[in-house]
Amino acid sequence: MKKSGATAGFQAAAGAGVIVALMLPFSRGRLEATLVGHVLVQMPLLVLAGWLLGSALAEKLERVMEQWNRFGVAGFTFAIFVMLFWMVPRSVDTAIAHTGYEIFKFAGLPCAGAALALSFPRTIPLLAGALKAHFVSMLAVLAWLYTAAPVRLCNSYLASDQKMLGAGTALFACAFAIYWALGPLFGLPKPQPTIASGAAAAREAPGGARI
């Protein structure tokens, strides 16, 4: 399935635009003022921006991905590690205090998003489904973790912020669960790569094997 150049251009512009908008001192200050704004708005938006950029580049990177990102394994591994890093309260805290961390965040999360965008279309449904199910239950666990934490976890944020973050994460978990359930329930049929057909299609046609 070829994407028109216009779509790719639009996605790239939107992705870059979101990142720039998030970097502006005004929005940075506003969002990082609260834990919810920081973790549940800014960070997901950075990942989303990366996703848009990644989708825009998908066509160009087809060759490379073909060799280095079979079934999205490399991309997922990278994205998981970046997200694990930013799941730790200490990292969130340090991003406020140290510019180096902040820069790493603004670079790393979009890269994780791009990696996801370049990996989901090439993976097998089994892996994609397992990751999604895992993600939802991890969000639920995180929601509990932040709500149940007996101490303040961040120097820069209030303990009450943690409770709000917990509640927000629970909402996120529900939203993702519902969103991901709608596709299999009502979605339009899509061609699916399987282990066998995916590999075969990948061998035959560079640029194929996309869902």
Binding site: A130, S137, I195
Partner: protein, 488 residues
């Protein structure tokens, strides 16, 4: 046993080998584990009846192994059935079944290690805060290994549902098509899915949700073991655990009944079709299975009243649709069909009626007024032994008998007949003695019983022995025939 193998290897819709060996292996392993765990059940009954002296610690280890193991067996045999018949209609990837089996066995090893090496004895329901507060009976590590084992088993079934779901979507477009919603809403559907697909789709949806919730509460419990200051709201934990537990154990029968839909038509010569009622029943069940679990919390007075009211009301309703549709259709199909009885058909029909009968005491107990008296008495094991032993496992043995049937009508000759009868009478006896205990207000999960209760404990042990003999006959027949087919 001539020509057993010819029938064992049946061609499928797509011709691919749908992990037939793995399914046969699952059923065999399930059968063997069943015999062992039934023996443990017998030991528990003997201990309660004062005929076998057993330390309470050991009793609870055995009870944990028996509960977790039986739930696992029911799930594995149900999954084997669902996989086998789904492969007739959609294209499944055999490797995923093997992967599922590996994760499952890894989980079993962890669970057994936690119980018999680590001495974990907190019951299969791992209800918070018991795993974390053993009173010195087991170490934190043992509880952690147990929870990790359950997580591994959960992962196994997650993979199973992802693959079966993927294959169904590849064939039918999406799950609402596979649930026959167009038929349900408009009265017609081109390419309407067969009952096996409708049932599978419903199970995938509700058990998928159940497993995700289960994984979350397992992970939370694990973290809490090592970081006790992160406390869990016990009521929330109980809600999540019983949601998961109720959905998971129910799914086992809803998977096993697929064997009835697919096999009975071979006997009656009348295809089992997806009707509008059938589709409605399965969709209703899909939603209600998720909504009825509060019937486990009827004595938790801190629960909101509306949740308990839902638990009670939906329990009446949830018991009914699929059972009524299945049992009623079965009767219609059977009447004047001139069906020949053999071991497979006898067990499958028994399964449907065992399931139906077993649900009745469950519905009774879900009435709040009754529950006030019956909660946590042996009435509870009474109903679930009924529909697991005479329902789910009977369907599983029916499937196994059918897998290994000969190509000439066999009827129900000597050994098969007596094995079947022993299984049926013994199993019913096990369930009914539990129900009697419940009616006498004997509490469930008590290692030590007072002499006034010994009568029903000992009667139960007697019936258990008979049912174990029956099981050994049925399993022996299956294994012997597989061995014969392998040699031929």
């Amino acid at each position: 046993m001539a020509n057993v193998s010819a029938l064992v290897d049946r061609s499928t819709a797509v011709g691919a080998k749908p992990a037939l060996t793995a399914v046969k292996l699952s059923m065999g392993l399930g059968g063997l584990a069943l015999v062992l765990l039934m023996l443990l059940g017998l030991c528990m009954r003997l201990a309660q009846g004062g005929l076998l002296s057993m330390e309470p610690e050991l009793f609870y280890e055995i009870m944990t192994a028996h509960g977790a193991g039986m739930v696992g067996i029911a799930a594995l045999t149900g999954a084997g059935i669902m996989w086998f018949f789904l492969a007739r209609h959609v294209q499944l990837t055999a490797a995923v079944y093997w992967l599922m089996l590996c994760c499952f066995l890894l989980g079993v090893a962890l669970v057994l290690g936690a119980i018999f090496v680590g001495r974990f004895a907190g019951a299969w329901t791992f209800l918070y805060p018991l795993p974390a507060h053993s009173g010195g009976v087991w170490e934190t590590g043992a509880a952690a290994v147990f929870l990790a084992g359950l997580l591994s088993i959960g992962t196994a079934f997650l993979l199973f549902y992802l693959e079966t779901g993927r294959a169904i979507i590849a064939r039918y477009g999406n799950l609402s098509q596979a649930l026959a919603w167009p038929l349900l809403l408009r009265g017609s559907q081109d390419d309407a899915p067969p009952p096996a697909v409708v049932a599978s789709a419903a199970v995938i949806v509700f058990n998928g949700i159940g497993i995700v919730v289960g994984a979350a509460v397992l992970a939370i419990s694990l973290i809490n073991l090592y970081a006790p200051s992160f406390t869990i709201d016990p009521l929330l934990a109980k809600n999540m655990i019983y949601f998961f537990g109720h959905v998971f154990i129910n799914a086992t029968i809803y998977m096993a009944v697929i064997a009835v839909y697919e096999i009975i038509p071979e006997y009656t010569g009348r295809p089992w079709k997806t009707s509008r009622t059938f589709a409605a029943a399965w969709s209703a069940i899909m939603l209600m299975v998720l909504a009825v679990y509060p019937h486990h919390l009827l004595q938790d007075t801190v629960m909101p009243g509306w949740a308990l009211a839902i638990g009670q009301v939906v329990s009446y309703a949830a018991g009914l649709p699929v059972i009524v549709v299945t049992a009623f259709s079965l009767l219609v199909y059977l009447t004047r069909s001139g069906m020949r009885w053999d071991l497979a058909s006898a067990l499958l029909v028994t399964g449907v009626f065992g399931w139906t009968a077993g649900v009745m005491p469950a519905i009774v107990d879900a009435v709040i007024v009754v529950n006030r008296v019956m909660h946590n008495t042996l009435w509870v094991p009474g109903h679930f032994h009924f529909y697991l032993l005479i329902g789910e496992m009977a369907m599983a043995f029916g499937f196994m008998a059918w897998l290994t049937r000969a190509d000439v009508p066999e009827g129900l000759p000597g050994a098969s007949y007596w094995g079947f009868l022993a299984y049926l009478i013994g199993g019913t006896g096990v369930a009914v003695t539990f129900l009697i205990g419940g009616a006498m207000s004997v509490p469930r999960r008590w290692a030590v019983h007072v002499p006034e209760w010994f009568m029903q404990d000992r009667a139960a042990a007697f019936f258990a022995l008979i049912s174990i003999i029956g099981t050994i006959v049925l399993l022996g027949r299956y294994l012997a025939r597989l061995a014969a087919a392998a040699k031929a």
